[in-house]
Amino acid sequence: MNESDSRLILKAENLKQHYHVKQGLLKPEVTVKAVDGISFNLEKGKTLAVVGESGCGKSTLGRMLTMIETPTEGRLAHLGEDLLTLTKDAQAKLRQKIQIIFQNPYGSLNPRKKIGSILEEPLVINTSLSKSERKEKALSIMEKVGLKAEHYDRYPHMFSGGQRQRIAIARGLMLDPNVIVADEPVSALDVSVQAQVLNLMMDLQDEFGLSYVFISHDLSVVEHIADDVMVMYLGKVVEQGSREQLFENPKHPYTLALLSSTPQLSPEKRRQRIKLEGELPSPLNPPSGCAFNGRCAYANDRCRSETPTLRLDSSEEQEQGHLIACHAVAEKRIGTLVEGAA
């Protein structure tokens, strides 16, 4: 492996998750393409943010990356090793290296278990550490995430939302992972608590060189924490690039709408609102062509029939890796769009 390869922790190629859903007795089964062809590279110590509206497939992607679910198609490699073709044993070992923190800090901790046993559970299952070694490890991780030793014997309901999220993070760290998939880790928290948890995640990243897949629908959080960003819409990536590319030079009409719909504190940062019409499309009955066409101001006949592919923006050859799936961008029907304040 050369230098750049050894920094590449996770490589996803064309990942898909198609669910077959029964709609009722007489109706035929339909396929929900929850995730439909996603590729990315994640390097050591970096954060890839995944954004998009409810139901676009963010959590499904997270479950595939952590091997909770097997993709229906695609490749997933961890440090060059193909995760999907490994034996069960080898898979279980590698699985420890990729941990997940779930969306809801209230539901994801077993209410009948004390914090100590919640944290030590992964060690019991996956390691041969003795009881005292396990406790030692739990206490040291608790310290890292800002919990006190006296919390070891308490139950989850005795903690605030922010503390519970710390516990969830601590649990994710117990097996010394190098990738953490964080599924909306701060969405249920108040802003002041959110700041505490985000700081903790950034500190841990620095200390352990962790890589994050950070799932969120809050663009102000993403702009703060991400190195790379992927914008999803109905199972597909519509735009992908570095944080700078996405926030300073957004191209896809949906990204533009998202950015302009996000409320801004400072009047200077407010963008001219791009008003979308219509509702989110149903994944059970996706529109033909571009999934965004029903809400897009630039949609034409081609958009309604032909699905745009994710490709480099031709207008910016020197900018590496900025990918967009939009006919209007490819056809240069969209000029420079986002002008400053409204």
Partner: protein
């Protein structure tokens, strides 16, 4: 005369004061934003205005008037007639406030019936008109839908349609968009503000999204642990906060930090029922707290238009007064 005026409103559950002596007013045609952390009393204070605090909760106020009418003194029946027609509320959880067993059309018509007369046909026409107003396409076809057949954004719009069914003069919207995606949120907020402008309605917008309030509210109230710690014109409160808590809230937002730097998080947590401190409620967490702050509760300084509850309010540079 203000549309809504409250003075020293408190709501207690047993020994616990969920809302602690708050005062504010809402003018006709004004959007008032109420922000604050979870549990700070935003919903409870609004429910008490609607007369919806049930036993054993206790509401008290030196003044609670709507358009010069004393809400506390008026007979129960008259108050119920007023809240629901002149004062309406969109509740925090739309899924629990729409009845899953009845169609959308039935529920809107029932809401209309309690406050206005008309035959079946007229009421139905009015229901369709309302659904059109809130931007629901093909409204006639939606009347027969049950709540579970609607998307989150749609049911939120139905909720709004029901709340404006009786042309309220004051609308209290409790987190009307929290469960929704940003692009849908933007659609709903635009809708509310447009209705508010057209009808010169007073709108109270409760949310924990500071940026949202900064964009749409004329005035803002910041709550902490049941108390109002700061109030004033939104642009002023957000540009030059006078209360250390408001300052800390704004500083903790990711957009306040540059690059990938650490965020300025206020240490500690909001006090609960059992660990309410003496003196100023923020004192255990406040970077500027003095011994005086830890012993004596600060009074509200300034008149209702620009108030701050702190012994040493911050100056325009964000430093505590000497």
């Amino acid at each position: 005369m203000s549309l809504l005026q409250l003075e020293n409103l408190s709501v207690s559950f047993g020994n616990f004061r969920a809302v602690d002596n708050i005062s504010y007013k809402v003018e006709e045609g004004e959007v008032l934003g109420i922000v604050g952390e979870s549990g700070s009393g935003k919903s409870v204070s609004s429910l008490s205005i609607m007369g919806l605090i049930d036993f054993p909760g206790k509401v008290s106020a030196d003044q609670l008037t709507f358009d010069s009418q004393d809400l506390q003194a008026m007979p129960e029946k008259q108050r119920r007639k007023l809240t629901g027609s002149d004062i309406a509320m969109i509740f925090q959880d739309p899924m629990t406030s729409l009845n899953p067993c009845f169609t959308v059309g039935y529920q809107i018509i029932e809401a209309l019936k309690t406050h206005q007369d008309g035959n079946k046909k007229e009421l139905k026409a009015r229901a369709i008109e309302l659904l059109t107003q809130v931007g629901i396409p093909a409204p006639e076809s939606r009347l027969g839908n049950y709540p579970h057949q609607l998307s989150g954004g749609m049911s939120q719009r139905v909720m709004i349609a029901m709340s404006i069914a009786c042309d309220p003069r004051l609308l209290i919207a409790d987190e009307p968009t929290t469960a929704l995606d940003v692009t849908i949120q933007a659609q709903i907020i635009d809708l509310l503000v447009e209705l508010q402008r057209k009808k010169q309605m007073g709108l109270v917008l409760i949310t924990h999204d500071l940026a949202l309030v900064a964009e749409v509210a004329h005035r803002v109230i910041v709550m902490y642990a049941g108390q109002i710690v700061e109030s004033g014109p939104a642009s002023e409160v957000f540009s030059t906060p006078k209360h250390p808590y408001t300052q800390a809230l704004l500083a903790s937002l990711p957009e306040s930090a540059s690059g990938k730097a650490r965020l300025e998080a206020l240490p500690g947590v909001v006090p609960g029922q059992y660990d309410r401190p003496l003196g100023c409620l923020l004192s255990p967490r406040c970077p500027y707290a003095t011994d005086h702050c830890r012993k004596v509760e600060p009074a509200n300084q300034g008149d209702l238009d620009r108030q701050v509850k702190c012994h040493t309010p911050l100056d325009s540079e964000g430093r505590p007064a000497a």
